[in-house]
């Protein structure tokens, strides 16, 4: 495949834009939540990176992803405030498959359920993604599933 402008190695893209992305997310979400959103933004970008057709407007692209991640985080924190527990700092990879179903879960449980049952990742892998221990990841996934069962039967 030939590209008019070669797509730079992701490392270069990440180094070039990470400071600006973090700045934007801090402005929107505050310092604590910005960190999870930062991780989520670049994970989303990396996930899509292989499918990029050209290397134009990469800055606008990544800032758009960051805006969307921030919006999701803001939207999520409002209506379901009573469900948000104290462990909300963990990342919330927004993968599509289980997204709607797990929408009401607290971020950590949601991420654990999606990664475990949507992507079939091991608890080691999920722990790495969440920045927690494998035990905590397992706990989050099972709590999340219980919560989903409860909400389905109620």
């Amino acid at each position: 495949m030939m590209h008019a402008v070669a797509i730079p190695p992701f490392e270069h893209f990440y180094e070039q834009h990470r400071a600006e992305v973090l700045r934007l997310l801090r402005r929107r979400l505050g310092a604590d939540r910005a960190e999870d959103a930062f991780q989520e933004t670049f994970l989303r970008a990396l996930k899509a990176y292989r499918r990029l057709e050209h290397a134009e407007h990469l800055r606008a692209w990544v800032l758009t992803i960051a805006q969307n991640v921030a919006l999701d985080a803001l939207r999520r924190s409002k209506p379901s405030a009573e469900l948000v527990d104290t462990g909300v700092e963990d990342s919330r990879p927004a993968y599509e498959n289980l997204a709607d179903l797990t929408d009401g879960l607290p971020p950590k449980e949601r991420a654990a359920v999606v990664l475990r049952y949507g992507y079939d990742l091991s608890y080691d892998q999920i722990a790495a993604a969440l920045g927690s221990s494998p035990d905590a990841a397992r706990q989050a996934a099972s709590t999340g599933v219980r919560r989903l069962r409860r909400s389905a039967s109620s």
Binding site: A6, I7, P8, P9, F10, E11, H12, Y14, R18, A19, E20, L22, R23, R26, E35, F38, Q39, F42, L43, L46, K47, Y49, R50, L52, S91, P93, L115, Y119, L121, D124, Q125, I126, A128, A129, G131
Partner: protein
């Protein structure tokens, strides 16, 4: 707004854990200087004595795609085996290798090269003969010079017909150090 090293590391680890990295790389310390080490999903793709990755990344991107990220975890296996090798505790590398996009002659020479035992040397001519091209010693020399995975693919074990060390893309000093480590000198 600088990104803290902790946040940076968490992103890199998560990207690797989620299998989003096509080629991960890091700089690995060794007795012969820092090594740029890169591994793809297929295996070890590059070792370079030039620890500045700029040119390497562009080349790897052309071969393996642009999802290339510095990711210490992705080269953990290579780092461990290299440490063991330099510590004298390993003679054979068990790493899978990514030899994508290399011409068939190069690949067959490298396969023969991989069979040269630890602590022994061979010659360019002998390798050429082993791949059925006995007059291609010079071409074998070129393959050695461009070897992307030195140390693991042991081009340091290849010497001239008269026993001269001849040369090494990483510098003759490194070739001598490696052969001394293996007890071949």
């Amino acid at each position: 707004m600088t990104v803290s090293s902790d946040l940076d590391r968490r992103f890199r680890d998560a990207a690797f854990a989620l299998d989003l990295v096509d080629v991960g790389f890091d700089v690995v310390d060794s007795p012969i200087g820092p090594l740029f080490v890169a591994a793809s999903t297929r295996g070890l793709a590059s070792i370079s004595f030039d620890s500045d990755p700029e040119g390497q990344l562009e080349r790897l991107a052309r071969v393996a795609g642009p999802a290339i990220l510095r990711s210490p975890r992705s080269v953990n296996a290579a780092r461990r085996e290299l440490d063991e090798y330099f510590g004298g505790r390993r003679r054979i590398f068990d790493l899978a290798l990514d030899l994508r996009a290399l011409p068939p002659f190069t690949v067959s020479v490298l396969h023969q090269l991989a069979r040269v035992p630890y602590g022994e040397t061979t010659t360019y001519g002998a390798l050429a003969a082993a791949v059925g091209r006995p007059r291609a010693a010079r071409a074998v020399g070129t393959v050695m010079n461009r070897n992307r995975i030195p140390i693991v693919l042991p081009c340091h074990r290849v010497v001239g017909a008269s026993g001269d060390l001849v040369g090494y893309a990483g510098g003759l000093d490194r070739k001598i150090t490696l052969l001394e480590l293996e007890g071949a000198l």
